[in-house]
Structure formats: structure tokens, C-alpha cells
Amino acid sequence: MSIEIIFFGQLADKTGCSNVVVDNPGSIDALSMVMKMQYPNLATAKFVIAVNNKIVFDNEPIEENAKLAFMPPFSGG
């Protein structure tokens, strides 16, 4: 199963793309590792990951069809 990941704000600058499709690595920690290997600039970036519009705080498993978002610190307003 492949999943789609969207990079927001300065993370898209760092990855050079706003979204990418990868094989589901099964968990948040595994995904984070895979992405940092694929995009070395992410290794030093601050970000949180949201699954289906909710920020994840733990190493959750990633379900099929999950909507993944990598988000840098917010700066609205």
C-alpha cells in the first residue's frame, strides 16, 4: 500500500516538492526515518506530523488511506 505525504511551508522548500507518494512504512517513526533519509534537509528541520488532520504525538501505526502531513511551526495571523 502506498501513502501520500504533503509537505507544508518551509518543509516543501527543504524537500523540493509539496507532496510525495511512498510505500507505507507502517508507523510514524518509520515514516519519519524514511523521509529523513530521502530528504536529508528534513533531518535538521522542526516539524510535526498530522494523520487525518490530527497531530500525532506517539508512534502510531499508519492505516491504509491515511492522509499524512508534515508541518513546520505555525505562523498564521
Partner: protein, 144 residues
């Protein structure tokens, strides 16, 4: 669930704010309104002048979060109503990019709820501002 849209493309016009205020004249149980407006600053950063901020958002997530914030604020304060508008796209220095409008019978609820809503919007909504320099270049805005 139909979520209220808070986003609009481009700056928030002064006459839009006026129309929002005027609409409340029929709500004669209101005694106080509080409004916060965020305006884009022409900051000088190491000699480079900010001419605009380009806002992007994880829109559907932001609307869900805003709904949650709205519910929490209505549960906490006796408000008559609350309206939130945030710009997306390029907003020039001097233009309005955020409009938070609260109303209540007695002033304290409107004043406190508005301040709390602004803080939560800045801290919790997935929105990003890209500060565009005069001539060339940009940097990503950081909220304090």
C-alpha cells in the same frame, strides 16, 4: 459536518469589517464587541524590507481545529457571536490578514474571548506565512 470557512483569498477589506459590524445592529442583546485585526508589517530584516506575506494553510485541518477552538471558547465565555477571517495568498504590508470579532452582553466576555481566540489561532492553526522581501528573497515567518 459542515465546517465554517474562515479563509478568504487576499486581504480583508475595511468595508467588509464595517458590514460585519453593521449586521449586528439587529442583535440588541449585545452590549460590547471586541475586534482584533492583524496587519502585515513592513519589517526590516538585516536591511531587507518585507513587502508582503504569502499565507498558505493545511486548510481542512485548520477548519477542523478552528471548529474545536470555537466550541471551547463558546463553552468558556457567554458570547453572543464570534467571527473569524484569515487571508490566504499574498497580503501586502499595511493590509489586514486576520479579523477576529466577538460580541457579548457585557464587555468582559467579548474582550477576553477575543484575546484568547487570537492566541489560539496563532498557536494552533496550521497556517504559514512567507515574508517576501523587496526585490528578491523571502524568509518564513515565526510567531512569538
Amino acid at each position: 459536518m459542515q465546517l465554517k470557512n474562515i479563509f478568504q483569498e487576499g486581504a480583508i477589506a475595511a468595508h467588509f469589517i464595517a458590514e460585519s459590524i453593521a449586521k449586528h445592529a439587529t442583535k440588541t442583546e449585545i452590549g460590547g464587541h471586541n475586534i482584533f485585526l492583524g496587519q502585515v508589517r513592513a519589517d526590516d530584516i538585516d536591511g531587507k524590507k518585507v513587502t508582503a506575506i504569502e499565507y498558505t494553510s493545511h486548510v481542512d485541518m485548520a477548519l477542523e481545529k478552528m471548529h474545536e477552538i470555537r466550541e471551547a471558547i463558546f463553552a468558556k465565555y457567554p458570547l453572543t457571536c464570534m467571527h473569524v477571517h484569515h487571508s490566504l495568498g499574498v497580503i501586502k504590508a499595511g493590509e489586514i490578514c486576520l479579523f477576529v470579532f466577538t460580541s457579548s452582553k457585557h464587555r468582559k466576555a467579548a474582550i477576553d474571548a477575543c484575546a484568547e481566540c487570537v492566541e489560539r489561532i496563532k498557536a494552533e492553526l496550521p497556517i504559514w506565512g512567507k515574508e517576501i522581501f523587496e526585490g528578491d528573497g523571502y524568509q518564513w515567518k515565526v510567531n512569538n
